[in-house]
C-alpha cells in the first residue's frame, strides 16, 4: 500500500489557493472521481466556500473556521495539510491530533521551535499518526494523491512521470531535490511508486527508515532511493535495516554535503538539520557506510543517473519490473491569465478607463503616480488632482487655484438649504453617513445648485450669438425663464456678496482674460437697474468664470459645450457641497438628535374626500 490512495481526501489548513488548485489539476489529469481536497480551514475567512477549477469546470470547496468543524463535516478526510506559519503550525497540529480521523499530518512551516516540534512529533507518534515534515513540500503517491506543491507544475509532473505509478520508492530530505530526483528517475527508469520529502528541520516527525520500511512492504515499490544529507544519524538506521534483513529490496543511496569535508567548520551547508556533530555524521562517512552495507552508492551526485539506470535495468531484466502502459493525460485547460500573458488569447473589453491605472507598481492619476501629487512637499493640491482625474490635463497654477477656490466657496451654505436639510433629517432617522449624504446630494439639480450649469449655458449662448446684454435679457424674458445666476435673497448692489467679490478679484488678477464675466457684468448692470438684488450671484460667477477658464486654457467652444452638457460644472458643486453635507451629518450624529417629525402646525391640511368614479 502506498502512502495514499485514489480515495484519500485532505483537509487543507490555510486557503493556499495556488497549492489547492495544483492538487485539483493533478486530480483531473489522473481522473480522480473526488477532489483530493475535501475542505479548507481558514480561521479568519468570512467565506463559506471557495471556487476552484476541476478541468474546465469549477467546483466549490467548503471553508470552515476551525479544524474541528471541518473534521466533523468531512469524517472521511484522513489527511491534514497544515500550511500554517511557523508561529501557529504547532497549535494547528496539536489541535488536529484531538481528532482520531487524521492518519497523516503534513506540516510545511520551516523553523518551528525545536521543543515544540519534538512534542508535536512525539504526541503524534504515541497516537499512531504519521507526521510528514515540518519544513517539507510533502509527499506523493503517483496516480492517487499529491500533497500541495510537490512535483511543481503540471507540465513537470507529467514530464517526471508523477501522474502514474512507477516502481521506485523515493525518500529525500530536501523538497527542491525531490522534484529533481523524480525527474532523474523518470529519465533513467520508469518513475516512482511512492515518494516523500521528509523535511529539512532538525526534528522531523517521520524519518527515512519509517518510509523505507513501509515501502519494503509495498508491492508496487520494486527498489528504493534515499537522498540523505550531511548531519544526523538517520541514514545509519537504514544501513542497520539493510544489514539485518529488514530491507531486502535494492536501495540506492547518496548523502549530499560532501563539500563540508573541505571546510573546517562554520559554513552551514544546506538545511538546519545539516551540520555534522561527529565524524560519522559527515556525508562522506555515511556514503561509505552505505556502500559497505551493500547499498548502491554512486561516486558523485553527477553519477547518480547511471546507478539508477543500472539498478532499474537489472530489475527489468530479472522480470521484477514490467513495462508500463502510459495512460492518456487529458490536457489541463490553460489558465486564462497565463494564456493572456503569453499572447495566445484575446477578448473584447467591457469597460474602458482613460483616467487612472492601478495595474503597475503604484496606481496613477492620468499617468502621474499618486505619491507625486499627494503629499504637501509635492506642492500639489486637490485642484491638481481634479485637473488630472476630471480633465486629464495638468492645468496651470492659476486654473488649479481657481478650481480649489470654487470647491471651498461652495462647501456649505448652512442647514436650511434643501440638501443639507434632507441630510440632517435622514441622519436623525438613524441612517448611516453615506445614506444621509446621498439624500442631500439627490436634491442637487435644476433648482438647487443648478444655477452654475444654467448660468454657464445661457450666458455662453448669448455671448456666442453676439446678443447685446439687452437682447439677452429680453430673450430670457420671452422664454419665460429667470436668468440663471442672477439674483440673491438678501445680497444687493449696496450689500455685495463677499464670495463673489473674491472670485472676481482672483479672476481679475490671475485669468489671462475674462470675456464672459465682462459680458455678464454688463448684463448685471441692466438687471440691477430694475431691482437692487438682481446681482450676479455666486453660482453665476462660478459657472461663467469656468467658461472663461476653459477658453483661456485653449479648449474649443464645442469642448466647453460638452463639459456643460455632461454636467461638469454641476460636479464642482456636488464635490464641494459634499464636504458641507458630511459636516451636517456628523454634526447630527454627535448631537444624538432624535428622529425628526414635522409639526402639524407647519402643514396646511386641505384634504377633500375622494370623489368616487363610477
Amino acid at each position: 500500500m502506498g502512502l495514499f490512495t485514489r480515495d484519500t481526501q485532505a483537509i487543507f489548513w490555510n486557503n493556499n489557493r495556488s497549492a489547492i488548485q495544483r492538487m485539483l489539476d493533478y486530480d483531473y489529469i489522473i481522473k480522480r472521481e473526488k477532489p483530493s481536497v475535501a475542505a479548507i480551514v481558514a480561521p479568519t475567512s468570512s467565506n463559506k466556500f471557495d471556487k476552484f477549477f476541476f478541468g474546465t469546470e469549477e467546483v466549490m470547496i467548503p471553508i470552515y473556521r476551525s479544524t474541528e468543524e471541518a473534521a466533523k463535516a468531512h469524517p472521511n478526510a484522513d489527511v491534514l495539510l497544515n500550511f500554517a506559519s511557523f508561529r501557529t503550525a504547532y497549535d494547528v497540529t496539536m489541535d488536529a491530533l484531538r481528532f482520531p480521523q487524521f492518519k497523516t499530518i503534513m506540516i510545511t512551516a520551516e523553523g518551528i521551535p525545536e521543543r515544540l516540534a519534538r512534542i508535536m512529533n512525539k504526541t503524534a507518534k504515541d497516537k499512531g499518526v504519521l507526521i510528514i515534515g515540518p519544513a517539507t513540500v510533502g509527499a506523493i503517491t503517483p496516480g492517487a494523491f499529491k500533497v500541495a506543491n510537490i512535483g511543481g507544475t503540471i507540465e513537470n509532473i507529467v514530464k517526471s512521470k508523477l501522474h502514474r505509478p512507477g516502481s521506485c520508492g523515493l525518500v529525500t530530505r530536501s523538497g527542491g531535490l525531490f522534484n529533481e530526483l523524480s525527474n532523474i528517475i523518470a529519465l533513467n527508469a520508469d518513475g516512482i511508486a511512492d515518494g516523500v520529502a521528509i523535511g529539512g528541520d532538525r526534528f522531523v516527525g517521520s524519518v527515512f527508515i519509517d518510509h523505507l520500511l513501509r515501502m519494503e512492504k509495498d508491492p508496487n515499490v520494486k527498489y528504493m532511493l534515499l537522498l540523505g544529507e550531511v548531519g544526523g544519524r538517520e541514514e545509519y538506521k537504514v544501513i542497520e535495516a539493510v544489514k539485518n534483513g529488514q530491507i531486502t529490496k535494492p536501495v540506492i543511496g547518496w548523502c549530499i554535503g560532501t563539500i563540508a569535508e573541505h571546510f573546517s567548520s562554520g559554513v552551514q551547508f544546506g538545511h538546519a538539520g545539516a551540520s555534522a556533530n561527529a565524524d560519522e555524521e559527515t556525508a562522506v562517512a555515511k556514503n561509505r557506510a552505505m556502500k559497505e552495507a551493500g547499498i548502491h552508492v554512486p561516486d558523485s551526485f553527477n553519477d547518480l543517473p547511471h546507478v539508477i539506470k543500472g539498478v532499474y535495468e537489472q530489475l527489468k531484466g530479472e522480470g521484477v519490473i514490467q513495462d508500463i502502459e502510459e495512460p492518456e493525460v487529458p490536457p489541463i485547460p490553460e489558465d486564462y491569465a497565463k494564456a493572456l500573458k503569453a499572447g495566445k488569447i484575446r477578448k473584447p473589453k467591457n469597460f474602458i478607463c482613460t483616467i487612472s491605472d492601478d495595474r503597475g507598481e503604484e496606481a496613477t492619476y492620468a499617468g502621474y503616480p499618486i505619491s507625486s501629487v499627494a503629499t504637501p512637499d509635492t506642492g500639489k493640491t486637490i485642484g491638481d488632482v481634479i485637473s488630472l482625474l476630471w480633465f486629464k490635463k495638468v492645468y496651470p497654477r492659476w486654473a488649479v487655484d481657481f478650481i480649489e477656490t470654487v470647491i471651498k466657496t461652495v462647501a456649505d451654505h448652512g442647514p436650511a438649504v434643501s440638501g443639507a436639510h434632507n441630510a440632517k433629517v435622514t441622519a436623525r432617522a438613524g441612517k448611516s453617513v453615506v445614506e444621509s449624504l446621498v439624500t442631500g446630494l439627490l436634491t442637487i439639480g435644476p433648482r438647487f445648485g443648478g444655477a452654475i450649469d444654467g448660468a454657464a449655458k445661457y450666458f455662453k449662448y448669448a455671448h456666442d450669438n453676439n446678443m447685446s446684454p439687452k437682447e439677452f435679457v429680453n430673450y430670457m424674458k420671452k422664454q419665460g425663464i429667470p436668468i440663471p445666476g442672477i439674483g440673491h435673497r438678501i445680497k444687493s448692489v449696496r450689500n455685495p456678496d463677499k464670495r463673489v467679490e473674491g472670485l472676481k478679484k482672483f479672476a481679475a488678477e490671475h485669468f489671462p482674460a475674462t470675456p464672459l464675466l465682462d459680458y455678464a457684468l454688463e448684463v448685471e448692470k441692466l438687471t440691477t437697474s430694475k431691482k437692487d438684488n438682481l446681482i450676479l450671484n455666486v453660482d453665476g460667477t462660478i459657472g461663467i468664470l469656468m467658461v472663461d477658464m476653459w477658453r483661456a486654457l485653449g479648449y474649443s467652444e464645442e469642448e466647453i459645450d460638452e463639459f456643460i452638457e455632461s454636467g461638469t460644472l454641476n460636479s464642482f458643486f456636488i464635490l464641494g457641497r459634499t464636504i458641507g453635507f458630511i459636516g451636517h451629518v456628523l454634526d447630527e450624529k454627535r448631537l444624538g438628535m432624535p428622529m425628526y417629525r414635522h409639526p402639524f402646525d407647519d402643514i396646511l391640511y386641505d384634504v377633500q374626500k375622494a370623489e368616487e368614479i363610477k
Binding site: 525545536e114 512534542i119 511543481g152 527542491g176 525527474n183 532523474i184 526534528f203 549530499i256 559554513v267 553527477n302
Partner: protein, 443 residues
C-alpha cells in the same frame, strides 16, 4: 539556523533575570560585567551597583564562545597568588590580550574582543559540581549531573550521571526522575539543595528554549549559588515566543571565524527583510568558479559536484542560494553582489571565470521572473565580466522555465557573453562537468 551559542554573560543574565521564579529561596549574586576594553571596565566600576569591581578581588576571561579557557591560560585570577587581582590588574590584562592575535590550543586563531569580569569566589575543589542539559534526542532531553565539576570533568566523565527526561514529562515526573538519580557522591548535607537546584535548572532550561546549557562548576555555599563558568546555546527558532524573556540577546560570530564581509552582510540584511531566502558565503574571493544556485538542496549538490570534479575546492569561490520565490529586484541585487565579487580580479593564471547558474526543478518559483533579475545584473556587469573572461553555464527547470532559459540566452548573446543553457532534460549538475571539460579543451 537553529541552535546558536550565546555569551557566558548573557547566559548568566538570563539566570539572574529569572532567578526568583525558578530557584527561590536560593540566591544568585549576579555580579558580572561584559567589556571590550580596560577603559570600559574602569568606567563601569564608577556606575552605581558596580562598586564590587573596586572592592573585591576579580577574575577576568574572554567571553567569546570558546571553552578550555583555563587550559589556554586565558583566565586571570592571580597576580602573585589566587584572589589578588585588582580592577587595575584586570583592566591592564584585558588591554594586553585584546591587542594581539591569540592562537588557542585547538589551533583556532583570532583577536580577543569581549571579556567577562566577575568577583573571585574562593572555594575548594570538592565544592565544584557539574550540571548540564541538552536537547540532542527527539524524544527526551538529557540532564548531566556530577559531584566532580571543574576543569577535569571530561577526565571524570564516568562519574557523571546521565538522566533521560521525556520531552512530554510533567513537572511531577521530572522531579521524580531527577531526584531518584542525584549522584551518590554528593555529600548528604548538600543533596537536597543540589536536587532542588537540578530540578529547577532543568525547568529553566526547558522553558527558556535552551538547546544546550552547561554550568561547570556550580558552587553552592549555604543559600548562595555561584555559577562560575557557563556555556549555552539557544534554539533561535523560538525567538518569536521568547522576545521578552531573552531580552537583547546576542548571537556572536564564533571566535576564529572571519567576520562577515560587507557583501555577505548586505545579503544577510536583504534576507532578513525578505520572505524569500538569500544566502551567501564567500569561500575564496580569488576563486574561479562562482555559483548562483536556486534552492538549498541544489546549492549543496553543486558545491559537492564542483569539489568532486574540479579535484578540490580551491577553485570554488562561493556558496549560497536564492530560493522561496524571490522578487526580480531581490534576484538582481543578489546577482550583482556575486558578479561584483567575481569581476574584481582576473585569474592570476589567465584562466576564464566560470559562472554556474544552477538549480533544480522549482516547485513554485517563477524561473523567468528570477532570470529577469539575473539578466538585469548581466546588463550592468557585462563589460567587467568580459574583462575577466567569464563563461556562463545555466541549468534550471520549473514554472516558466522555457521563457527564462530563452531570455537569458538571448541576453547573453546580445551582450557578447559566452553561455550554455540547459533545461530539466539535462542532469542537474552536468553543467559542472561541461564547464570543467571546456576548460581542459581550452588549455
Amino acid at each position: 539556523m537553529a541552535q546558536r551559542a550565546i555569551r557566558e554573560y548573557d547566559g548568566k543574565r538570563l539566570f539572574a533575570e529569572n532567578w526568583d521564579k525558578y530557584f527561590a529561596p536560593l540566591k544568585y549574586p549576579f555580579e558580572s560585567v561584559l567589556v571590550t576594553s580596560g577603559e570600559e571596565l574602569k568606567k563601569k566600576a564608577e556606575e552605581p551597583g558596580f562598586e564590587w569591581l573596586k572592592q573585591k578581588p576579580l577574575v577576568a576571561k574572554p567571553d567569546m564562545l570558546f571553552g578550555k579557557r583555563g587550559k589556554n591560560n586565558l583566565v586571570l585570577f592571580k597576580i602573585n597568588k589566587p584572589g589578588d587581582v585588582t580592577l587595575e590588574d584586570a583592566a591592564k590584562w584585558i588591554d594586553e590580550k585584546r591587542n594581539q592575535e591569540t592562537t588557542l590550543l585547538s589551533g583556532q586563531k583570532g583577536v580577543l574582543t569581549h571579556f567577562i569580569v566577575e568577583p573571585f569566589t574562593p572555594h575548594s575543589e570538592d565544592e565544584e559540581y557539574y550540571i548540564a542539559a541538552t536537547t540532542l534526542d527527539e524524544n527526551y532531553d538529557v540532564l548531566y549531573m556530577s559531584a566532580h565539576g571543574g576543569v577535569e570533568v571530561e577526565e571524570n566523565w564516568d562519574k557523571v550521571v546521565e538522566v533521560k527526561i521525556p520531552i512530554d514529562a510533567s513537572d511531577e515526573e521530572i522531579e521524580k526522575i531527577i531526584k531518584e538519580n542525584i549522584p551518590a557522591d554528593i555529600p548528604e548535607d548538600k543533596k537536597e539543595t543540589y536536587a532542588n537546584f537540578a530540578v529547577n535548572f532543568y525547568k529553566f532550561f526547558r522553558d527558556l528554549n535552551f538547546a544546550y546549557l552547561e554550568i561547570n562548576p556550580v558552587v553552592i555555599v549555604g543559600d548562595n549559588v555561584y555559577l562560575l563558568d557557563l556555556v549555552a546555546r539557544l534554539d533561535d527558532t523560538a525567538g518569536f515566543m521568547m522576545k521578552d524573556v531573552w531580552g537583547d540577546v546576542e548571537f556572536p560570530t564564533p571566535f576564529g571565524m572571519p567576520e562577515k564581509s560587507p557583501e555577505e552582510e548586505a545579503i544577510a540584511e536583504a534576507d532578513a527583510k525578505s520572505g524569500a531566502s538569500l544566502k551567501l558565503t564567500v569561500l575564496n574571493p580569488k576563486g574561479r568558479i562562482w555559483t548562483l544556485v536556486a534552492g538549498g538542496g541544489a546549492s549543496v549538490v553543486y558545491a559537492d559536484t564542483i569539489a568532486d570534479l574540479a579535484g578540490g575546492v580551491e577553485d570554488l569561490a562561493n556558496y549560497g542560494e536564492y530560493s522561496g520565490g524571490p522578487t526580480t529586484d531581490e534576484t538582481r541585487f543578489y546577482t550583482e553582489t556575486v558578479l561584483d565579487l567575481m569581476t574584481r580580479e582576473k585569474d592570476p593564471e589567465g584562466r576564464d571565470k566560470i559562472l554556474i547558474i544552477g538549480g533544480a526543478i522549482a516547485n513554485f518559483t517563477d524561473v523567468a521572473k528570477t532570470f529577469t533579475g539575473i539578466i538585469q545584473a548581466f546588463e550592468k556587469y557585462a563589460d567587467k565580466m568580459k574583462d575577466v573572461g567569464t563563461r556562463i553555464y545555466v541549468r534550471r527547470g520549473g514554472p516558466n522555465y522555457e521563457k527564462g532559459l530563452k531570455d537569458i540566452k538571448e541576453a547573453a548573446d546580445r551582450l557578447g557573453l559566452p553561455i550554455k543553457v540547459f533545461g530539466p532534460e539535462t542532469h542537474i549538475t552536468d553543467i559542472v562537468r561541461m564547464a570543467i571539460e571546456d576548460d581542459k579543451a581550452k588549455a
